[in-house]
Symmetry: D3
Subunit: 267 residues, 6 copies
């Protein structure tokens, strides 16, 4: 199967080591018959740490999802926690997976209470609101979303691809606070650090029995499962209420008004 | 005080009777010293009945909010339930009011359980998710957001400005079902029908003692209150976590990447 | 408009500086066309720090609300968190505002999670139960109501009118604990300290971006808004279930049995 | 043991058949070594179907509880759902039992979801708020408190003492609606009808397997249990926060201000 | 009345001091006319600190409950928090009491928020899940179930029968943390330590006003109350949904398949 | 990979068409490299429609899970909603999947609100309690678990393998009630009917846009994903609290006491 992996930035060259790492990562986590195509956004502010900057970014993210469907991809994974999962799911008929949703659902099968550790305080509201909308608060600890402290920056990110020491000491300090507050599972709240930790073979907070969920791997597995189920059982998203697309002609009209190609990929 | 009223469409001429009605309406509901400036969006698909079409619309809505601050307005009211309340609040320092939030908060002071009646099934998810994020589910009935049935269309909307009979019979049929399910207050889930009902003097489901909350009036009153409080007590939004704006230079950089004027109005 | 401000004590002379401060305060917070009339109770134990002592006090509070309606006031504000909001709202037709309800609703528009700081441990249960009944627990931090420590006493109260230093160091110590536990907004849980802080220009926990909500100002603004809405749109409380008054003849009979003037003000 | 049964009216003579029934009832439900003393209020409006009329009544109810402690009773049962349970519990050290709380707690041991059927719509808010404060909403059906329809009146009440037919057809019609909505247990929401149904041997909605909980019996059993536990294990109410009495001297001062005997019974 | 007290182990001789203590305990807590028969399990792993080992144990526990009914006991108390309360209640018609359920329900009448202190981390999940299923989370503190630290072992248990010093210092250290987190009542989360503390006259965390609930006493009192109510009012469990027994012939067939005596005691 | 599929009965011959159907089904739903081994229980009452009969059954189910691990299976799927998911997960280190948990988690990605339709009223409590423990109530409709009506029996089950007409008319009648109550997704609450519907190509309630989730397919996909993740990222269950196995020597001792082979498969 072919899966489009939507990366939520324009792919700035200073992050090249991360893109390289992701390209190494996908074949290690995907099934042999799964091809993962990494695609950046044509335009992006490359900053998802606020509700507003996400809003600006989200338009291009959904465009990628619509394009994926038109190009015959079997599924699309929105590769950032801040991505517009429900908006994309609404207008696209192929499976649309959010790595945050996938990771949190998976976490509930590994222990009773989970926590999410993300990269910066500015991402906390996004994830906290998603957690609430997903209805999973009872399975998370109090103050369920916490940030690396100090927050991640480009330096830490690129450095961690090859040398995770500074990342790990930061991550584990926060993780141990979560564990003290009742967390049995830690979810990595970032589509880059999940793969980076996996590439370094890191999957448990040492000595605690607490697994660390790589959100990107969780998202990829959910995408594969949804494609399988669609093929084998015909299962699709509900079009009854929340994820019902507007009529095609409305969609096309609205998109044209916003300067977007008039024909959406929705069936 | 001067309040910018953001209207969530491009102001299509076929809705001219509605714009005229709103212009009559504001002075009837605003305080004498409040000037309400109605402003449409420069670009809009004029369709808010889906999560996706809202996403496309929301960019321009926040632009209006940013412009309002720069132009010296005292507050901005987002005049549609589907508007990006928290995104705008994040990047703007003056009070930003959502008519849905305002109306539902107000409703909790008028009775114990409320319900929202909106214009079409496609708007239900937006409002239902907001209701959940606002934490007000315990104050609303089960299945708290319901739609006019049949849904509203342009014909009903324009007709209702002068003749509300068809609207009222539709609205009251749904309202009485809500009341049978425990609603003590009905909130009008549309920034047009709220004012239209008010202009017709309609404020209670006849014979039931159940008040009907005009969401636009609620929003305007909250805006006035927030401006008053800012002037008299200095009260502003929190910048501690959810509504904290990114740093100015980040905001400007992100906006430029998206083709928006480089200097935001945020302080 | 004319608003009766019900003060929940008999107005003991040793608190004269507070009464004087309130009289200075109202015109600063109210709109120019709003007249606020401060009225004490004819009889009071002057102690609201227990569920039981409130019960004794509440009879006179509702009498004041009934009298306000009969005397033609446009609204009544119950000026203490411990006041019988729903009981008064039930039997009075003009808007009845509780400063606690008003402040907590307002707080939800300024940040995601709020906390309340009140004057003494004995007031915590009252406010905590109200918070629960208002359905706002999801918008407040864990252990959402906390007390000044050491508790306030007459000395601190009167001193703070002119010199708030001791109050502020106490208040901020508690506030910073709330902020560490996730609070983005602090609500002042006392109808005296709210105005006192406002008169001293205090509206934010310094250096935190966390606003401090003066509950009395919030209550006054809600009262003004409700009066406006009643005049401009006809909006009134629901009489469907929770706030439905008993029939007038029953009310009169019951009141006479309790030695109260036989004719209530309820319409 | 000796238990004071606080009856929430002044004991009007037209209800004499009810008082007689209660006097027959207590020895049938109480343990042989339990003496139940029925005591009316010296003053009452004899109407508990509103939050406000209860407020007026509650003062005398707590006086009875305080008197019970002073007179050496082992416990006091507040014999009406509308009684001020927490206020009384706060200032009295002997066990204070509410029949509503007792019945709803008991109901949770008999099935998963319960419903309460009370006498009139005006009592619904009181019980619904108590249910919420007791934290038992998850164990009750949606719209958990319902009313006899038509509401009970004096005629039905007195008639039911000797002839329950009209009561039963009304009660069962409502009960079957509750059962259709998921109720596995029905709690009788009235301190008179509970005993009357018991005296008639009625304890299950016929043919449904759904037990009917006599709230008064539940309250009496909880009182006996609490007295037992106090004697055998020393168990008492918590004085840590919610049920902590104000200091004695404060209590006496407040009570005197309200014209009540200066010395409370609290230790 | 005669009550079977199901003890959840095979009664290993090294715990003889505990069995002796229980036998002294029952008459001190039970009513004079109540006979409590202590019965161990014929087979047990004598380890309830895991969901799995409980599962193995639970079969014999329900057998004891079925036998109790057949032998004419009036009620059965499951004497361990880990016991299969709802499974037993389903197939037995006499009252079946769980000491955990009884203690937590009772605790809600003594203060607003309770906590449970149990013997070891392995028991925490069992109790936490029960607390959630009972719907009582809102009446308990955050992280409501905590363990003695270090965990209890046989040495501590037997020693505490005669000398509770080491137990108390451990228990109180945990209890004071619970109190700091808002607990107003502490429930002893173990059917042995409850009685042991009672035998030592311990019923309050010293100096805090926080009562300590002996779960076994709570269970015994609930059993007595349920037997009383069944006799005086006819009240039984609901057979409507959750606690409805399979048909007798099915039950017998299933039991025979599992090598159990073919005739259950269920009516 | 090799997955053990635990079937929750002894495999009675009268159900042979079902076993045959399952054997046809697995290769259609599993990935080509997944081998699914169907295994019945050595002893079973073949009745899971009660909490008690499940308890009897669960011992053998966990034995199968333990055996699966010892025999080198990569994962075990508990093929019935009534299976002891957490007990098995606790003592087994390989992934243990419950079809109910898997299906309900999956359902949350397909629409906002789901409902479960199961085979008989006696299964409703099991599923309802699981739904509550999984923390998913906010994503399900009110009264989220409903039964075929009339309930399924052997005749309907076997008939449906070849002719699903009678099943479908029953299922759809209930499904449409769920949809009327807000369900956007229907989960098949039975490990037999899920596959049977899939084999008949049934995956949507006709004309509604509401997908029907085959729980068994969902379970199989989750098992494959967990095995993948364990291999590629090292991810395992948490051993921090809820799913922590007792020490090996304890486990062996307990199992021997219950007549089970002394050496468990847990590491």
């Amino acid at each position: 199967m072919r899966i489009l992996w939507n990366e939520a930035t324009s792919g700035p060259p200073e992050m090249a080591p991360v893109w390289q790492a992701l390209r190494e990562y996908f074949p290690r986590v995907a099934r042999p018959d799964t091809e993962v195509v990494l695609r950046h956004l044509p335009v992006s502010g490359n900053y998802v740490r606020s509700l507003y900057t996400e809003l600006l970014n989200n338009r291009a993210v959904v465009e990628n999802a619509i394009a994926a469907e038109r190009e015959g991809f079997d599924a699309v994974v929105l590769g950032c926690w801040a991505d517009p999962l429900w908006e994309a799911r609404e207008v696209v008929d192929i499976p649309v997976v959010g790595i945050g949703e996938a990771a949190m659902l998976l976490a509930t099968t590994l222990g009773y209470k989970f926590a999410v550790i993300t990269v910066a305080p500015g991402v906390v509201p996004t994830i906290a609101l998603d957690l609430r909308l997903y209805g999973l608060e009872d399975r998370a600890i109090s103050r369920p979303v916490r940030s690396l402290d100090p927050p991640s920056d480009l330096g830490l990110l690129v450095e961690s691809v090859t040398n995770p020491e500074r990342l790990l000491s930061n991550f584990e300090r926060v993780a141990r606070q979560c564990i003290a507050d009742g967390a049995e599972v830690i979810v990595v709240g970032c589509g880059y650090y999940g793969p980076i930790l996996t590439l370094h073979g890191y999957h448990e907070v040492p000595g605690t029995g607490v697994p660390v969920v790589d959100c990107s791997a969780a998202g990829l597995k959910l995408a594969e499962a949804l494609v399988d189920l669609r093929r084998s059982t015909g299962l699709r998203k509900s079009t009854a209420l929340f994820f019902r697309s507007p009529p095609r002609e409305v969609l096309d009209r609205v998109r044209r008004a916003h300067g977007l190609e008039g024909t959406s990929g929705a069936p």
